[in-house]
Assembly symmetry: C2
Homo-oligomer: 463 residues x 2
């Protein structure tokens, strides 16, 4: 069925194995005609040209780590276009603080390339060992350093991409300023592969902070966490790179599934914050001063400050293992919401009431990038009960949580994207004018609807 | 001819006065059917709906301060849609660090609103007293603080806009993270009014730095300026908010046209830098230490450090008056280029050779946002000669300068945009694939070609 691709140079074809047909949470079981692995941008263009001529769907595939089913199609047989062989470092210019890599380079490899020249590529997500730059950009990934360095899109200076009809857009400029026409970079970043395939990107590198401090703190409440953030920003400015809220529930799951993992705080508080700063010489001392002031102001009641890289890593391991603890527990429903910063406490309060009205005994693990107004708000069965016991409540819980986020001017997908999982949410909560514009753009750049069909739009985006 | 607009509510119509038909450099003499001043977003939508139905062109008009003719049409009679009455502050939330304003608010007014709540809106350009937020965003304005805070687009969280057919896109979210579909914000920002009219925006506010230091420094060369920047960034990190290169030629023009203005440095060097930092407590002392180190390393040979707000303002006045000195002198050709940072010295060298091969006695004033790789590279007649003497060389000079920028992977419009002035440059230097995508998007969102006709594209963008 994909014989029409057989004669293309720089292209490997193979039968889709299970790895290409599932996603991390096991919610989708995909289908695929073939896995096409181009090694050059011309090969990408050739695949798209031929698929476009035949109306064959194409799913751009990076590391397969997305959490909203953007990488799997259950309803349509597509060519799975894996970028894994398009994985060269094209250019590294530490003097310009830029790194140009192809889409198949993993995020961890890009970070390592930057480190080689004594620079930082600050984007950091739990799946960075597998996630590839193409997918990271297509989904505008977020992660733990957004507070300081922004989302993926904020770290990209230029892109190369192939549109549905095979047109190559070559805009890999490494410039901080370039006002020459529409910003296709930002249109393709976050478009989840529905408008074209990102094949390479020029990334911004940052200086490695001279000093870094990491602490795990006990706070009274989410509101207290926000007060602490405001206080620390006043004292430490932009040097705060991470400010992660953690709830006792997440550590309880870790204690259950990873008994060897030590709780960092004796006091076992309900709410905690993992904070990290990085700055020039003297910033570690400034952080200690800020921490003392926070104790005096009773913004913090207990703390551990990492004294070594090993201790720092241990604190981060706790934060980064929470998603795995959640997965092993098995959620009824998980959410990736954001609201304006000041409304976070109200969100947590109202969402809790809404969830308990549906599933009174459910456990809630609410954690994440509180400094960005972004929470992962996950709902779990009561101890001793099974996910299956709540199967009828799942949709209600999801709707209830999303309605609270929407009522507070928030987003129902802060960083994971829409994929296939949240198409209905986009229809329901998205602005109607925005949806009209999106459909017009989709129809213009992908008139045959071959690019990641079923993602972002329902089955008939152009109807 | 615009009777079809007469009965619309919340809309004022008037005969176009000269102010609406010219632009700052006097290069264009525009035409216009009427000046339509809507006071609400619904009135904007009504105007566009009716113009679209009749195929009547619409030029969105902010403060009229653009430098590339984006706000004037010489070839087609259009409705001039001035946003000046759509000028409300919709919301100011210092706790969320956001400010939501309508398009007709001037940049200076937005800055003042932020200051009222002890916050900073950092975008700063010479025309900020007249430029309005709508135009500032439509052109993705840059200015002196891009080094630290980014371009206009980096300071916008959400927008409201009206598309050509009157569709209102209402996406004024005030979120740091929102991955729900295509980023229309970034598509409309920088589109120069060719896809729709931005009617309001949610802006990001920043903390006001606790301490600020400003200095005027003598450096040996542009290369030395870059070495100084790298050295200071190593010591002071992100606190450097402005790093402006200034050439002796600019100060000579000031001495001629503004004899009361004092040269800040006794040594009268060829190359100077205006640097400003802002940070938490202690950063002013850190700046002085960095300055001492720069003297010891012979990166700086002379310096004046502002000791008061008045002195700071005097230093900035010099920088901000340079464009007016240029205007009074009368340039043969002006350019707004950017190149990767490391290539700036080579650009200055090669462009100088290229210009002098065409106009051997021309004077060059090269200045600007060197920290962003962005230079305003302007060419002037020799003393005692007139612009008219060079009239035949102007096109050649412009082409030569742009060719050097392009050869160094640079941009021929770093911050001023394309407008009508640089349509040919976009055709010549722009990526062909990007141009194809731009035309497809333009045709999709503005099929009748009514939005700012003649800007960005030649007369027949959809042909």
């Amino acid at each position: 069925m994909t014989d029409f691709l057989n004669d293309l140079p720089d292209l490997t074809l193979s039968v889709p194995t299970q790895a290409y047909l599932e996603e991390p949470r096991g919610r989708y079981q995909g289908r695929g005609l073939t896995v096409a692995k181009p090694a050059t941008v011309d090969a990408v263009a050739a695949v798209l040209t031929r698929c476009n001529a035949r109306g064959v769907g194409v799913i751009p595939w990076g590391g397969g780590t997305g959490l909203v089913g953007g990488q799997v199609s259950e309803t349509r047989d597509c060519v799975i276009l894996s970028l894994e062989k398009l994985n060269r470092v094209r250019d590294c210019a530490p003097g310009d603080a830029t790194l140009t890599v192809e889409a198949g380079v993993t995020l961890a490899e890009a970070q390592a390339e930057a480190a080689k020249v004594n620079r930082l590529f600050p984007l950091s997500i739990a799946s960075e060992g597998s996630a590839r730059i193409g997918g990271v950009l297509a989904t505008n990934a977020g992660g733990v350093n957004v507070l300081r360095y922004g989302n993926a899109r904020d770290l990209v200076l230029g892109i190369e991409a192939v549109l549905a009809d095979g047109t190559i857009v070559s805009d890999l400029k490494r410039l901080r300023k370039d006002n020459t026409g529409y910003d296709l970079r930002h249109l393709l970043i976050g478009a989840e592969g529905t408008l074209g395939v990102i094949t390479a990107a020029s990334l911004r590198l940052m200086p490695i902070p001279a000093e870094r401090s990491t602490a795990f703190l006990a706070v009274e409440s989410p509101k207290a966490a926000l007060n602490l953030l405001a206080d620390m920003q006043g004292r430490l400015g932009e040097s705060i790179s991470a400010f992660e809220l953690i709830h006792r529930q997440g550590l309880d799951f870790l204690a259950e599934h990873f008994p060897a993992m030590r709780h960092p705080l004796e006091s076992r508080p309900d709410w905690m914050v993992l904070v990290e700063i990085g700055g020039s010489k003297g910033s570690a001392a400034a952080f200690e001063t800020a921490l003392e002031a926070a104790f005096e102001a009773e913004l913090v009641s207990d703390a551990v400050l990492a004294q070594s890289d090993g201790q720092r890593q241990a604190l981060w391991d706790i934060r980064e293992t929470i998603p795995e603890g959640n997965r092993l527990t098995g959620s009824i429903s998980s959410h990736d919401i954001s609201v304006p910063l000041s409304r976070l406490p109200e969100f947590i309060e109202r969402a809790g009431v809404a969830v308990r009205a549906i599933a009174p005994d459910a456990r809630i693990n609410c954690f994440g990038h509180v400094g960005d107004g972004n929470l992962h708000y996950n709902v779990f069965p009561a101890p001793g009960r099974m996910k299956a016991d709540y199967v009828n409540m799942r949709g209600q819980v999801q709707t209830a949580v999303h309605e609270v986020a929407d009522a507070l001017d928030g987003s129902v997908s802060a960083e994971h994207g829409i994929g296939r999982l949240k198409v209905g949410d986009l229809e329901r909560f998205g602005d109607p004018g925005k949806r009209i514009a999106m459909r017009a753009i989709k129809a213009a750049l992908d008139p045959n609807g071959i690019m990641n069909p079923g993602a972002l739009f329902d089955g008939a985006p152009l109807g």
